[in-house]
Subunit: 260 residues, 2 copies
């Protein structure tokens, strides 16, 4: 197989549509990746307001019309072209599947939310190593003790992703990622997992653990799994999300979201 | 009277509550100013989506719960503490008043949208003169030939504000304002008013004209009157906006919206 980093978004989506299930970190380098949350139209205002009130974990990149299966930044089929999905009923996960066509409803509004995988190419370019890319595993993600600002019927904790960064490169990692606010931007926390309510880095709530080596600091970025944590706590009747780490690869270059 | 630039937001709001009607450019230097749009709850999703799709003219800073008269960034009364308001029925302006208490409805959701007055202190500090501050007039604003992306029942043209900038300072003006994306950020257009569909700079659609002197370039920023232009075109049954240039002065420092 080709190096996944070199695949175009369309090529990557085609593989996922054909059934490949894999985390997408490192895929289609230079292209923006996105979290998915699909909610019935009558819950859409609550979520859009939740996102407005919590822009660090929930930077909205695109919103579909009800029932629409493509988006302006995603020229594919949102029901099939992500590697894996989670389906929720009343906040309980009822399925994890590679295709949600069977669960689709015509009143679903899809929200595409920025993903920190987008700035990983820029981190590598700046000389900041990314451990879960080296190990070819999913990024570790944690529920924190920080509650989001609620909106309508939605509330929940902020979820973060973690990357271990050598101490002398923490400032570089902050500087590089702060230029990508639409894909979570600068870290929300550097070091001291306990202050975030994260008890054991080796037991992430989503994704897989990575080693934090001597001389490395765990650095935490807000994560687009936060909407699904809100679904789990707030229990709307129905929702679909991507499986954490298994993202929508969009047709927008990462540089489109770069700020000066 | 004190220099308006030195008033705290609370002091300025108190004067407006007591009946003072004035454009707010130059007031409470260092504090964020905001456009107001109040719509009934059943139109709120359409507008929030319109704003998400048109972030340059419509950067949302805060959204109230229905009927609420204060906001998290505005510790005053949104019905009385702006200098002037416009009231719309079916897209027609039916009143311009200094107080909208008589028009208030319990289902109104207030959207506070970033205003370019916020970055004028930074422009002055960088040595970029601001003509309408020198002349103590309202900023000139124009409807353009650029349509916003529609959302639900809302569509309309982008409105811009214009400041004449000496040619050698245009780059500085771009650089300074691009650091404030939440209050419209970098210009959307530099020079050539005709390309925006602006025929006569001396006849703005809102505010007052200013002189463009020899050696100066008209520089255009997206403007938070855009939501009211959408109301005028799309004709929702009811809406309230600020009178253009007569803004909500918030309790948030301008530096809170500064990006690196």
């Amino acid at each position: 197989m080709l190096d996944p980093a070199l695949l175009t978004p369309g090529e990557a989506r085609s593989l996922f549509r054909d059934g490949l299930v894999t985390p997408t970190s490192g895929w289609s380098a230079g292209w923006t990746q996105a979290n998915l949350l699909a909610l019935p139209r009558d819950r859409a205002y609550d979520f859009l307001l939740f996102a407005q009130r919590n822009p660090r974990p929930c930077p909205v990149l695109d919103v579909t019309e009800p029932g629409q299966v493509a988006a302006s930044i995603f020229d594919g089929d949102l029901r099939t072209d992500l590697p894996a999905y989670r389906v929720y009923e009343n906040g309980e996960q009822v399925a994890e599947v590679p295709d949600v066509t069977a669960y689709w409803r015509d009143d679903l509004v899809c929200f595409l939310i920025g993903c920190s995988f987008t700035f990983e190419a820029a981190l590598l370019e700046a000389g900041v190593p990314v451990r879960h890319l080296e190990t070819r595993t999913n990024v570790p993600m944690y529920r924190t003790n920080r509650d989001c600002r609620p909106a309508g019927g939605l509330s929940g904790p902020m979820v973060v992703s973690m990357r271990p960064v050598p101490a002398h490169l923490v400032a570089t990692a902050v500087r590089v990622t702060s230029r990508y606010p639409a894909v979570h931007g600068a870290p929300v926390h550097v070091g001291d997992p306990g202050a975030l309510g994260v008890r054991d880095l080796d037991r992430p709530d989503f994704g897989e653990p990575v080693e934090v080596r001597a001389g490395e600091i765990p650095v935490f970025w807000a994560c687009g799994v936060t909407p699904q944590a809100a679904v789990m706590r707030s229990r709307p009747p129905f929702a679909i999300g991507h499986a954490p780490g298994h993202m929508a690869i969009t047709d927008v270059r990462d540089t489109a979201y770069l700020v000066p």
